[in-house]
C-alpha cells in the first residue's frame, strides 16, 4: 500500500526548527468499552475490534486517502518495514493478536488495531509542530468516538491496558537530532533538565531502543492529571529549550572547532559517496553527520529532505522493499552502498 521508494510527508524537511527537530508525533491510546483488552480478548473479540475500526474508517472517508491491511498481510518483513518507517511500534510487530493497520498515503496518520490497546493512533508532522499533529490525531479520534463506545471513567479518563497511559492516553513526542550537545558533552545535562520537568528521553525507535546517530525521542511521561494542552505545551516549550542549547553548542563548535567539525562532516560525505560496503548502522551515523553539515550550512549542495529519505531507505527492510528482492546481509551492504552513492552523486 505504500510506495517503497518514497518516504512520508513528515520527512520532507519542512517546518519549524527543522535543523534540530526532525519530526513531531502525537499518539492516542483508546479502548472499546465492551470488549476485553489485548491480553484478555479472545480471537473473536480481536476480530470484532478490527472490523469495527475498519468500518468507521471506511464510513468517514479515511480509506480514500489511505489503506487498511489486516493480520494476514502483516508479515514479519512487512512489520519490520513499517517499524523502520515509524508507522508501527515494536510491540505491534510481535503483539500475537489479530491486528489491523491503517496508514494514510502520505504516512502522516496511522492507526494500529490490537497493539496492547485496541486503538493506537498517531499523527506525524515535520519539524516542531504540536498543534498540527494534535489536531490531525484528535480529528480521527473524535470521528471514531462517534461510532465506537470508548472505555472511559470521569476520574481516570480514557482507560488503557497499562496504567502508564491512563487519562488523556496521549504521548506527545519529538524526534530531535542533537550532535552538538553530544560533541560538547552537554547532552546529559540538557536531557536531565527535560527529565526533571516530567519528560522521558528514548532512542530512535522508542522504548528500550538504542540512540543512534545522536537522534533522541523526547516525550511526556505523565498522561493523567494534565490536560492535552498542558502536555503539548510542556513538550513544545522544553523542546524549544533543547533546540536553543543545541544551537549554542553548534555555535561553539563552529567558532572554536570549525576545521574539526568540517572535517567530520566532509569525511562522512566522502565515505558515503565512495564506500562499496555499508552497514545500516554505519550509514545512519554518517548520514547523521551529513545532516549536521546541511543544518550548519557547511554542506550547501544537499537538502535535509534527501538525507531524511536516505535515513529511512538504508534500513534493511526498506532497502529490500525498494529493491524488490530478499538479500543476504553482505549483499545488502553492497546494494546499500550503491544506493547511497547514486543518491549522493556529485552534481
Amino acid at each position: 500500500m505504500l510506495a517503497a521508494d518514497r518516504v512520508g510527508r513528515w520527512l520532507d524537511g519542512s517546518g519549524p526548527e527543522i535543523g534540530v527537530v526532525v519530526s513531531t508525533r502525537v499518539r492516542l491510546a483508546r479502548n472499546l468499552d465492551d470488549v476485553p483488552f489485548g491480553i484478555k480478548a479472545r480471537p473473536a473479540d480481536q476480530a470484532r475490534v478490527v472490523g469495527a475500526v475498519r468500518w468507521v474508517l471506511q464510513e468517514a472517508g479515511y480509506l480514500d486517502s489511505g489503506g487498511f491491511v489486516d493480520d494476514e498481510q502483516l508479515t514479519e518483513e512487512r512489520g519490520g518495514f513499517l517499524l523502520e518507517r515509524h508507522l508501527v511500534s515494536p510491540d505491534f510487530v510481535k503483539s500475537g493478536l489479530k491486528r489491523g493497520l491503517y496508514v494514510s498515503r502520505d504516512e502522516t496518520l496511522s492507526l494500529m488495531v490490537n497493539e496492547e490497546d485496541h486503538i493506537r493512533l498517531q499523527a506525524l508532522d515535520s519539524g516542531l509542530n504540536m498543534p498540527a499533529a494534535y489536531e490531525a490525531a484528535a480529528k480521527l479520534d473524535e470521528r471514531l468516538e462517534d461510532d465506537l463506545g470508548y472505555a472511559y471513567l470521569p476520574e481516570y479518563g480514557y482507560l488503557t491496558a497499562c496504567p502508564t497511559n491512563l487519562g488523556t492516553g496521549m504521548r506527545a513526542s519529538v524526534l530531535v537530532h542533537l550532535p552538538g550537545l553530544v560533541l560538547t558533552r552537554e547532552i546529559e545535562k540538557v536531557l536531565r533538565g527535560a527529565v526533571s520537568v516530567g519528560l522521558v528521553v528514548r532512542g530512535l525507535y522508542g522504548e528500550g531502543s538504542e540512540t543512534r546517530g545522536n537522534f533522541f525521542q523526547v516525550s511526556n511521561q505523565r498522561t493523567l492529571g494534565l490536560s492535552e494542552t498542558e502536555i503539548l505545551e510542556t513538550v513544545t516549550n522544553t523542546t524549544r529549550q533543547i533546540v536553543e542549547h543545541e544551537h549554542k553548542a553548534r555555535e561553539y563548535l563552529v567558532e572554536h572547532l570549525r576545521v574539526e567539525v568540517e572535517d567530520k562532516v566532509f569525511r562522512s560525505l566522502a565515505l558515503l559517496r565512495s564506500a562499496r560496503i555499508l552497514s545500516s548502522g554505519e550509514a545512519i551515523n554518517l548520514l547523521a553527520n551529513v545532516r549536521l553539515g546541511v543544518a550548519l550550512g557547511v554542506i550547501n549542495e544537499l537538502k535535509t529532505e534527501v538525507v531524511n529519505r536516505l535515513l529511512v531507505l538504508v534500513r534493511p527492510e526498506n532497502l529490500q522493499a525498494m529493491l524488490g528482492e530478499r538479500l543476504k546481509p553482505e549483499e545488502r551492504d553492497e546494494r546499500r552502498a550503491a544506493l547511497v552513492r547514486d543518491t549522493l552523486v556529485q552534481p
Binding site: 483488552f37 484478555k40 463506545g149 472511559y152 471513567l153 481516570y156 558533552r185 528521553v201
Partner: protein, 165 residues
C-alpha cells in the same frame, strides 16, 4: 578535541556514567562502543522510574491478590501485577482500592483533567443547560414575569427528562 574513553583509552568519550561499587560512587566518561559492550545506553540510563515501579509490582504479588477478581474479564489482581496490563475496562473499578495508590505513584495524580469522553461531554452540557434554565426561571419568578416563567418551566421539564435519559 574530546576526552578519551576511561575504559578503552582510544576513542573519544561521549557518555558520562556513574559507577557505584563497594568503594563508593565515581563518574567515568566512556565512548559509545564501550557503553554498548557494558550495556549502557542513554535510553536505559535516563528515567527508568516508571519501569522500576512496574518491575517492583511484579516481584511483590501478595497472597490476597489472587482473591480480587474482575467481574468483567475474570482477571485477578495478582495476574495484573505479574503481567502489568489490565484485562478490561471493568478492572479499574474492581481493583480500585489497590490500583489507586499505584496510579498515584506512576502518574502523580488520580484525577483526569483532560478532554472528557463524548458521552461525558454531552452529560456536562446537559447539566450546564439545567443550571442555566433554573437560574432563568428563578429570575422570571422574581421579576413576576409569569408568562416567561411558565415557558421556562416547560423547557426545564423537557431538559430534565433529557438529562435523565
Amino acid at each position: 578535541m574530546a576526552r578519551k574513553c576511561d575504559i578503552c583509552g582510544e576513542r573519544d568519550a561521549t557518555l558520562r556514567v556513574r559507577q557505584v561499587d563497594k568503594a563508593g560512587a565515581a563518574d567515568i566518561e566512556i565512548c559509545a562502543e564501550c557503553a554498548k559492550v557494558r550495556g549502557f545506553t542513554e535510553a536505559r540510563k535516563i528515567s527508568t522510574s516508571v519501569a522500576e515501579i512496574m518491575a517492583g509490582m511484579k516481584r511483590d504479588v501478595a497472597e490476597g491478590d489472587e482473591a480480587i477478581v474482575c467481574p468483567g474479564c475474570g482477571m485477578t489482581f495478582a495476574e495484573f501485577k505479574r503481567k502489568g496490563r489490565l484485562g478490561c475496562a471493568r478492572c479499574y473499578p474492581a481493583f480500585d482500592d489497590k490500583l489507586r495508590p499505584l496510579i498515584r505513584r506512576i502518574q502523580g495524580a488520580v484525577q483526569h483533567v483532560g478532554r472528557a469522553a463524548k458521552a461525558g461531554r454531552r452529560r456536562a452540557r446537559d447539566q450546564m443547560a439545567l443550571v442555566r434554565l433554573r437560574a432563568e426561571l428563578e429570575a422570571a419568578i422574581a421579576a413576576e414575569d409569569y408568562e416567561q416563567a411558565a415557558r421556562l418551566r416547560d423547557e426545564l421539564g423537557k431538559a430534565e427528562k433529557n438529562a435523565r435519559r
